[in-house]
Amino acid sequence: MSTTTQNLSTDHSRATADEAHSHGVGATPESSRAARLTSFEVGDFPVPNGREEEWRFSPVDRLAPLFAADTDGKLTGHGVLTTVVDAPEVTVEIVDRDDARLGLAGKPGDRAAAVAWASAPRATVVTVPAEAVASAVTSVRVEGVEGNDEPSAAHILVHAKPLSQATVVIDHVGGANLTETVEVVAEDGAHLTVVSVQDWAEGAVHNAAHRVRIGRDATVKHIVVTLGGDVVRLTPDAEFVGEGGSVEMLGVYFADAGQHQEQRLFVDHAVPNCKSRVTYKGALQGEGAHTVWVGDVLIRAAAEGTDTYELNRNLVLTDGARSDSVPNLEIETGLIEGAGHASATGRFDDEQLFYLQARGIPETDARRLVVRGFFAELINEIGVPEVEARLIDAIERELAQSMSEFASALGTESTAGGDFASDVTEQTDGERAILSEPASVTSADEKL
């Protein structure tokens, strides 16, 4: 039996360096991601209309309050409350916006990020002292203030000093209209895990610019988990500033009817001998569920010895959901260890369902097994037990919901001879771009 999941992947480990190599969307306005504007000045970014590359998948009307078009690029709301439970080895401060430690991990890359930078009155700074090893998880809770949906800004800095080791979980709950800056600075030799959980209540709108700076021989694990909220748009940027750095960026998302979950990543290999791994997986169910994954990787001419791979997989569980997946890889040097990406969006595989049912497993249980299996490997890589357990629970809840909808749908049609005919579903323009690549690119078959 053929699997119905479309598997598109390319391997660029043997790519040559005669010219910059990009295969994203034809409409990309700049020739290189490196040329994309970044600035601390809100005024440098016109109010988005949805046709810009950064916003073309986004519901800009719903995000509009975060653009502060009528208030000169500044928000004054106090719609969220930030509290921290810190590990004993870690220090937490609330600092004014002019604190010298802020703004060191790169500049905003779009209007909402610039508004976040310009508007946050104070910042929460979590510092892991040099050589400190945190004995517990540090939890930062960003909670929407009930009854206050004023557009608001927040700023968090996680700063791991040289040779330190810590895990920080940033949790977003409640209802809010929030544009947020999360700066992550891992100095030389630090081992830092940062998890951002978007578990918002219905109605929440959240834009977050994560800017991660990885020092010499530093190891960063950056994880995003997006479950709740109406619109969640994340732009994690990772920049290497010293040789020997390593970043692993993991993402799990589960979109229900009407939810928009977008993640745009940018990994900037500017120095030699660094390693990046990006793995994002999402499931979608319900009318209007929309997920977006854009993964930009730039290997600059100086970044010899780079080793990078990015992967995105989406599992479409029902009709009416849409998933866009666009990997972009630019390579300016041929002296690299490896570079590749894979993107696949597939419908629920009915042959898997048949196989499991043929062993007596009822359809709802079989579906649950398959979806759990889809996420299992990635969840095991998170390495933060409380986040893993919570995520498994959340996925169970999402599935319970879809199963009940599924069961009621079944009530109206015969179970025998159901619709097993589905094949590949949403093929995004990014995937089309890969499909139409020159034949010289080696195709690498790779496993989930």
Partner: protein
């Protein structure tokens, strides 16, 4: 004692040109303890019969009946058929990434029996069955069928047959693609289930080779969607010597 009765079964598949009839009136009766070999050339409908009995939605039953001890199999969903005691060892087992073999086996056993198996004896049963099929213990932690070799996939199918203890087992070209060693291991597994239970077996194969390891009680030759000839084990020998040619000429 169980009896699977197939009466005048007609099955079509949907094609771009409309429904295409594949099975054109199949009659078969399989009782507990019996082993029936179904042989036939490619395209004769052997696998269609297997998948239709298991309830694959690709196949439309246009007429006829299938009953298991009088119960209407065709009215059952895929999982209900399995729980009623039917088992299909598939020619192309499906990969289920992220679901371990041990989790899969336990989930299936629980579904078939209606209750979770006692943990200690279950683990022992699984380990013993795996050992007999020469499967490495680490196998149980791998994802179902993912990265399995052809022989591993077939052994995994027979492992399930041993553990789930069906009333009627349909083996769809379990021998295809196996080397002699793997064929022998798989056949021994099938014979163990035959000796230790009352299973009725429907053994679908293109080649007579597997019948040297698994002795059938009855041989049915499938041509053009129906049984063209029936007999005992001697019919298989005749097919081995003569091939299917004599069945193919007149049907043209």
């Amino acid at each position: 004692m169980s009896t699977l009765e197939i009466r005048d079964l007609h099955v079509s598949v949907e094609t771009k040109e409309g429904p295409k009839p594949i099975l054109r009136g199949v009659d078969l009766t399989i009782r507990s303890g019996e082993t029936h070999a179904i042989m036939g050339p490619n395209g004769s409908g052997k696998s269609t019969l297997a998948y239709s009995l298991a309830g694959h939605p690709k196949y439309q039953i246009t007429s006829g009946t299938v009953t298991l001890d009088g119960e209407d199999v065709l009215a059952m969903s895929v999982d209900e058929r399995a729980r009623a005691g039917m088992f299909l060892a598939m020619q192309y087992p499906v990969e289920v990434p992220g679901v371990s073999v041990s989790n899969f086996l336990r989930t299936a056993k629980t579904a078939i029996d209606g209750e979770a198996p006692a943990l200690r004896s279950w683990i022992k049963d699984v380990n013993v069955a795996m050992e007999k099929l020469r499967m490495d213990p680490e196998f149980s932690e791998r994802s179902v069928n993912e990265g399995f070799s052809g022989g591993e996939k077939k052994r995994h199918e027979i492992l399930q047959m041993e553990l789930l203890k069906p009333k009627i087992a349909i083996l769809d070209e379990t021998d295809s693609g196996l080397d002699v060693d793997a064929l022998r291991i798989v056949s021994e597994g099938v014979n163990r289930v035959r000796e230790t239970s009352d299973v009725g077996v429907l053994l679908i194969t293109h080649y007579t080779r597997i019948l040297r390891y698994i002795q059938p009680d009855f041989v049915h030759v499938f041509v053009d969607g129906r049984v063209a000839e029936e007999g005992g084990p001697e019919l298989a020998e005749r097919l081995e010597n003569e091939g299917y040619d004599r069945f193919l000429v007149p049907s043209a």
